[in-house]
Amino acid sequence: MEKRFASIWFPYLTTDRHAIRQPGLRNVPFVLATPVHGRMVITEANAAAEAKGVTRGMVVADAKACLPGLEVANAREGLAERLLRILGLWCIRYTPVVAVDLPDGLILDISGCAHLWKGEKPYINEITAKLRKRGFHVRMAIAGAIGAAWAVARFGKDPIVESGRETDALMPLPPAALRLEPGVVDRLHKLGLRTIGSFLHMPSSALRRRFGEGLPLRLRQALGREDEPILPLRPVPPYVERLPCLEPIRTAVGIEIALKNLLELLCRRLSGEGKGLRIATLIGCRVDGKTVQVGITTSRATASVPHLMKLFALKVPDIEPALGIELFVLEAGKVEEVDPVQEALWGGVPGLEDTALSELIDRLKGRTGVRAVYRYLPDEHHWPERSFREASFITEKLSGFWRSDRPRPTRLLAVPEPIEVTAPIPDYPPMLFRHRGEAHPIKKADGPERIEREWWMDPGEHRDYYYVEDDKGRRYWLYRSGHYGNDRPQRWFLHGFFA
């Protein structure tokens, strides 16, 4: 489809806004000023002030000298950005792709939108009339390239430039219409190049040498020979399905039917493109104007309707339909490539990459009450609590190796429990320990195994571990914290149970 862009220019954006708030300022000379080096400098002047010769960059004292009735207000930082954002969001009713064009304009990608207003002329009239009614001075132009639309909106006469005729439209315009840096514009004027037409046909290498890379680039953009990216105010998710309902939906069954229809549409499209979704959101627009939404995430890209349906089924009870939902929107927030070959290869082979397993993990993660699903990988630490770490994703490959040369308990207490111990002499295993009121005479013991604390991670004392077995054959992991000393009590702890 042919690309068409509209540029909207607000020549007196901030002063218009003050005039809307205080209608008395509309027809009197009025400026906004900000202190620069101790002087008040005009940043914005309205039409009446400009007609009297007051322009931007003048000092307020000078302006007041030649125009005693001048109204002055303090300029506020960021007002233009805020206003443009609000106006841009308002413009979304005319096209979904609206971008803010600082400092004083908007850019609309109107490809395929104007015919809804019966052509581009009525389209422009509609928008400008609405904005003027609100009190803004506004100029608008439509062209096949952003640069051309921008130039014609500010400097041109005929607001509509047909695609392919940008050159003709730009010829009589001044070089400033090309969005150039002020220095370059001055130099062009100095050289007598007062219209774009006078240097349009010069070789671009010559222009680049004299005026820098900016000028040929801006020329190409204005003529539509180079694409210009714009940043939409509200990004359009590329994978969206909508389902308007004739009657508001209020029941869980109804929601599930709607969801199933949407998923089928979305998944057919995704699988056709060899993609799968990782994040999906179901948005329900209610009759009372509010929206409700539920989201799911998957651990690997999938386009399987039954699986996604199962994931959503866990969330459907959270949807509050109130008086009814009239529009369902299903968005795929994150989409990834799926390798169909790989899926076939792994199908049925039990392993971490198994599809059935990843679907199970998604289901477990989606359920409230399931705190976490994770794997452990070895970590390079001797300290028992740190000798393993959670894998950052469920299929992360094993990189190190698991040590098994030292006895380790099968069950480790998160918080070691203090015990009373009878130990003969330093560094010998205890003879008896008492835990929760029960005495455990020790028959066999291994140790000590000293594990130093990693001082760069946390302060504290080292531990001397003993692997002991009591008279009933129960095996424990005990440790003494720190060194033996006469001046302080020994602290012993039970840290785990062996098989």
Binding site: P350, S387, S404, P407, T410, R411, V468, A499
Partner: protein
């Protein structure tokens, strides 16, 4: 006369097998699928460990839970082989992952599911047991009634996953639909005379209930990566002395 007797024995065996089949016990064709439990396997129907069944392990104390975890580790190493995946569902993070390495299971092949409430453990276990991509599911539970265990058993029969349920300090031990009910207790380890330290893990393995099998009690030791049946202590000592004499 002899021939008739032989025929009778055959008929009885066949009838026994038929009975088992009607009761829903799937008997494998060959006896190769052993899990290395030695004499304990004789207690199961057809002398084969029911891999595709739910096994319930009762533990009365934290020490017994630890012993049971070790025993399960030994079982899992046989069930999982080199690339099986196991799911470990619990409400506590008590299992020390590096320790299962000693029982032949690579800890990174276990996926841990941490759950806030006991009620959701059963849900997660049932979902997991339905997933054919897994080899085994271990769930740490406290209470389980007949209906819940029946649901798990049915899920297992369809998906052919092993289910191991560790019931830590249960208040009520009712009847369940599990294939077997175990209790593992640690026994004093035995070392060669004069050696210091603690020996290989040794357990008293008690089969409290076996569906269509014979309950019993055995002593097993985990050494060199496998279960080794242990004779009572006196016999062992006798054998040790004998061996010394021979050498």
């Amino acid at each position: 006369m002899e021939v008739k007797k032989e025929n009778k024995l055959e008929t009885v065996n066949r009838l026994k097998q038929d009975l088992l089949r009607w009761q829903g016990v799937a008997l494998p064709e060959s006896h190769t699928e052993r899990v290395g439990l030695g004499p304990v396997e004789e207690a199961f129907p057809g002398a084969v460990f029911p891999t595709f069944g739910v096994h319930e392990f009762i533990s009365r104390s934290r020490e017994e839970s630890a012993a049971t975890s070790g025993f399960m580790g030994g079982l899992l190493s046989r069930l999982m082989g080199s690339d099986g995946v196991c799911l470990w569902i619990s409400t506590s993070k008590l299992l020390f992952p590096p320790s299962v390495r000693a029982f032949g299971v690579s800890p990174d092949r276990i996926i841990f599911v941490d759950i806030a409430r006991e009620r959701d453990v059963l849900w997660a276990t049932e979902e997991a047991l339905k997933c054919s991509g897994l080899t085994a599911v271990v769930a740490e539970l406290q209470e389980m009634d007949f209906v819940q265990s029946r649901r798990l058993q049915l899920a297992v029969e369809k998906s052919r996953v092993s289910g191991l349920i560790l019931r830590c300090m249960p208040r009520v031990i009712g009847s369940t639909a599990c294939a077997a009910r175990w209790r593992i207790r640690s026994l004093p380890s035995v070392l060669a005379e004069g050696l210091p330290g603690v020996g290989f893990p040794r357990w008293e393995v008690e089969l409290l209930k076996v569906r269509n099998g014979n309950p019993g009690c055995w002593q097993l030791e985990w050494s060199e990566g496998r279960f080794v049946p242990v004779m009572p202590a006196e016999q062992a000592r006798g054998r040790f002395i004998q061996m010394q004499k021979i050498s």
